[in-house]
């Protein structure tokens, strides 16, 4: 009798306790699944739906797929779960191609999602694939408890001979194991307001514009010309953050060398941008991605923005910041750069290896589906064959850019990006700290700014040391 009561009490306790173990569950949305349902309906039997979807996709996948290595992770007919931070990309991806997947949105911007990921991935909830950003991917791919090699899904580096090389380098961990595959080459360019350019600079075509800003010296000279012509009303770049991205990513220098913080690029940039601020070429109070950032574009107070490929699609940043009038154009800008990017990584707990492998192949290997996705989403996909084909055929035109093909511009940029050891796992945090310190202390001299940055960075990261 008393044993029974005790057991019941324990059960009640456990039931109460278990309800508290719920993490990051709010954004759990099944992809609308119209594709999944129709597939199932077409096949007539719902139990087989999973297997047949995978099989169908396999046969569609074409020749490269059969060449893949051995899949060593388990595979059952559970739903493929992908952890991500934004619906926009992934919802489209699933609806377009996969249908049979669930995405777990950790709901944050790419820069900050890392924190939520750690919580989710540690919670033990189902995860097969997760999407990681360049700024913090190394935290996850260098830890075997978070990520498994792509070779466990039968995918090897050879599959990425058509990919842009820098994306493969970022997806490779410290031991040289390929652990992340990007579907984007997040090349960026300088998008400018063509009306303002014509009014103040007399520029009528993207080629002329590019000729005026194809180096940092010319960019600054044009900024001066613009300021003069517009009576100081129009700045050449919207934010310091945008300038930093364009300036730094191609400099090929990591924030951290071993455990030492390096500030060479930061110093160079600080020197440059202080001149910009003193001369009024950029407004230091405008925060990247803020309402002000949108407003300066809408009100014609900036000539242009540095945008990544994912800013140029329908409903994205370009459109929000005034692009819907169609009077914006994009050029390569003073320096080739990339911004962000989304790497698909495999969780060691992946239990749907067949589907996961298929998913990764469709978005990062298969040129046909990637081309289709590029045209559908406006995203610059990570496949030279697909992109070259689109550019050669001229099959893409972006109404937000007055019909210009952004891929033609970005293809040159993507080819020009070189990476070697230029990212570290501290990048995102150090970049944020640097830009914040820079803005807060913009009126101090360069050394004072760098000292303030170094001291804050050291306080945040006891692992690191200064030069």
């Amino acid at each position: 009798m008393s044993k029974l009561t005790r057991t019941l009490a324990l059960l009640a306790t456990l039931a109460m306790a278990s309800s508290a173990f719920v993490a990051c569950g709010g954004g759990n949305t099944e992809s609308t699944g119209s594709t999944a349902e129709t597939t199932a309906a077409a096949d007539g039997s719902s139990e087989e739906a999973a297997d047949t979807t995978a099989a169908d996709a396999d046969s569609e996948g074409g020749e490269e797929q059969s060449a893949g290595g051995e899949i060593t992770l388990p595979s059952d007919d559970d739903t493929l779960t992908v952890v991500c931070w934004t619906d926009a990309d992934l919802a489209n991806m699933f609806d377009q191609f996969s249908g049979h997947a669930k995405y777990q949105n950790c709901g944050d911007n790419g820069g900050d999602a890392s924190t939520k990921y750690a919580t989710y991935l540690n919670s033990g909830d189902d995860v097969d694939l997760f999407v990681a950003e360049a700024g913090w991917i190394l935290n996850y791919i260098n830890d075997d408890s978070f990520s498994a090699p792509l070779s466990d899904l039968g995918i090897t580096a050879d599959d990425y001979k058509d990919a842009y090389q820098y994306t493969v380098e970022i997806g490779t961990d410290n031991n040289g194991v390929l652990k992340g595959a990007s579907w984007q080459a997040a090349a960026g360019g300088y998008a400018y307001n063509a009306d303002l350019a014509e009014q103040y600079l007399g520029v009528t075509s993207p080629e002329e514009m590019q000729a005026k800003i194809d180096s940092w010296d010319k960019f600054e000279a044009t900024a001066a010309e613009l300021k003069e012509a517009s009576d100081g009303k129009v700045t050449i770049a919207a934010t310091i953050g945008g300038l930093w991205q364009a300036f730094s990513t191609a400099k090929n220098a990591a924030w951290v060398d071993g455990t030492t913080i390096k500030t060479d690029v930061a110093k160079e940039f600080t020197d440059m941008v202080k001149g910009y601020v003193d001369n009024g070429y950029v407004d230091p109070t405008v925060e990247q991605w803020s309402t002000d950032w949108t407003n300066v574009g809408l009100n014609g107070e900036t000539l242009g923005y540095f945008y990544s490929t994912w800013c140029l699609g329908e409903g994205a940043q370009l459109e929000q910041n005034g692009g819907n009038a169609g009077n914006w154009r994009i050029v390569r800008g003073p320096q080739d750069f990339f911004w962000g990017g989304s790497w698909l990584c495999v969780s060691p707990n992946c239990n749907t290896a067949d589907q996961a492998a298929d998913f990764i192949r469709q978005f990062t290997v298969n040129a046909d589906t990637m081309e289709e996705y590029a045209l559908y989403s406006g995203d610059f996909v990570n496949n030279k064959v697909a992109m070259d084909k689109i550019v050669a055929e001229g099959s893409n035109s972006n109404p937000l850019l007055g019909g210009q093909d952004q891929f033609a511009v970005l293809a040159d940029v993507a080819a020009g990006i070189k990476m070697s050891d230029s990212i570290s796992k501290y990048d995102q945090s150090l970049k944020d700290t640097f830009l914040k310190t820079l803005k807060d202390n913009i009126n101090k001299d360069t050394d004072a700014i760098l000292d303030a940055f170094t001291s804050q960075a050291l306080a945040d990261n006891p692992d690191l040391s200064a030069e």
Partner: protein, 341 residues
């Protein structure tokens, strides 16, 4: 002699069922309250970032309090923590003092039988209202009203009226602190006012009547009757506000531009959150966060004790002492054998 049946009934203890029924609560409490508390202590003795699993003794404390530790950024860490501690106290004083004065004034007015304020109920509700809104919404509201540039309502209006430069309500180190103090006051004065009103209404009205008849004016009544008798409620308000103030997190964390919180408003709670909430375990500073939590706990305990000590009922204590003394004397006399009770 009791019968066998009676003995058996006595032997059956129903108490254990009582314990069983309350056991779930205590188990849950241990899991989710006691253990995290203990674990915070343990974490404060462990390392940060890549050395998160190592036991480092008191190094976290020496780093954040005295700037002496093995990491290159020990001094910067100390400066940040001390700044956060300073901000915490500045923000707490800055909102507590205006809040208590305003609440006290309004509470006296609203409870005074001679001041016949119309629409008392309405005002009470309106003044309490901000407290119902979550701090997150309040922060969003103020950030959007008081934005730093001309695109936001307040600055836009002021600049249309002829102001040259926008006021940096959000990014200026001093103005942003004042704003947060103001918002905190605005959020909480209604709540404090209700608390104080209940205290004032608990005072025996005949005291006020007697004072009236004796010719005491309102300020005399306030300082000689209301304030002394309100002391218990005041202590309660002070202690709860102090605990809340030292743990102030939501507004200082949310009141900012862009993606990161504002360092000028960084309180200890924000520092703790920021230290441990940085992605994977190997990125976060659990040790510093733990040590800072323990330090703020100790500070709260000390300040709380001081408040209680200063506000204890001195008459009651004096009486207790007297009684004890009398008892002792009595016992001494009994030992001598002179008296029997």
């Amino acid at each position: 002699m009791a019968s066998a049946a009676q003995r058996r009934i006595k032997a059956i203890s129903y108490a254990k069922y009582g314990y069983m029924f309350i056991a779930p609560f205590f188990l849950v409490y241990c899991f989710f309250q006691i253990w995290p508390l203990i674990y915070t202590f343990i974490l404060s003795f462990k390392g940060n970032q890549s050395s998160y699993a190592d036991f480092v003794g008191l190094e976290n404390y020496s780093t954040i309090l005295f700037g002496k530790g093995s990491s290159a950024g020990a001094q910067a860490t100390q400066q940040e923590f001390l700044k956060a501690l300073g901000n915490t106290f500045i923000l707490w004083f800055g909102n507590f003092i205006p809040q208590i004065l305003l609440s006290l004034l309004l509470a006296v007015w609203f409870t005074d039988a001679k001041v016949k304020l119309p629409g008392k109920g309405f005002f009470k509700i309106v003044m309490y209202m901000p407290n119902i809104i979550t701090a997150a919404s309040v922060a969003a509201l103020y950030v959007n009203l008081f934005g730093d540039s001309k695109y936001y309502f307040i600055n836009g209006t002021l600049m249309n009226l002829g102001m040259e430069e926008p006021i940096k309500f959000i990014s200026d180190p001093v103005v942003s602190k004042i704003m947060v103090m103001y918002i905190q006051t605005w959020l909480w004065f209604g709540n404090t006012m209700i608390m104080l009103m209940s205290g004032i209404m608990g005072i025996n009205p005949s005291l006020f009547e007697a004072a009236d008849i004796d010719g005491a004016n309102s300020s005399q009544q306030f300082f000689k009757i209301t304030l002394p008798l309100l002391q218990p409620i005041m202590v309660y308000t002070l202690v709860t506000s102090m605990i809340g103030g030292l743990q102030m997190f939501d507004l200082p964390y949310l009141y900012h531009n862009g993606a990161n919180f504002s360092r000028d408003l960084e309180t200890v709670a924000v520092y703790i959150y920021y230290s441990f909430n940085k992605g994977t375990v190997a990125q976060a500073n659990y040790g510093y966060a733990g040590a800072a939590s323990i330090i703020i706990f100790i500070i709260t305990a000390i300040l709380g004790s001081i408040t209680f000590y200063m506000n204890r009922d001195k008459d009651a204590i004096a009486k207790k002492k007297q009684r004890k003394k009398a008892e002792k004397q009595m016992k001494a006399k009994m030992k001598q054998g002179g008296l029997t009770l």
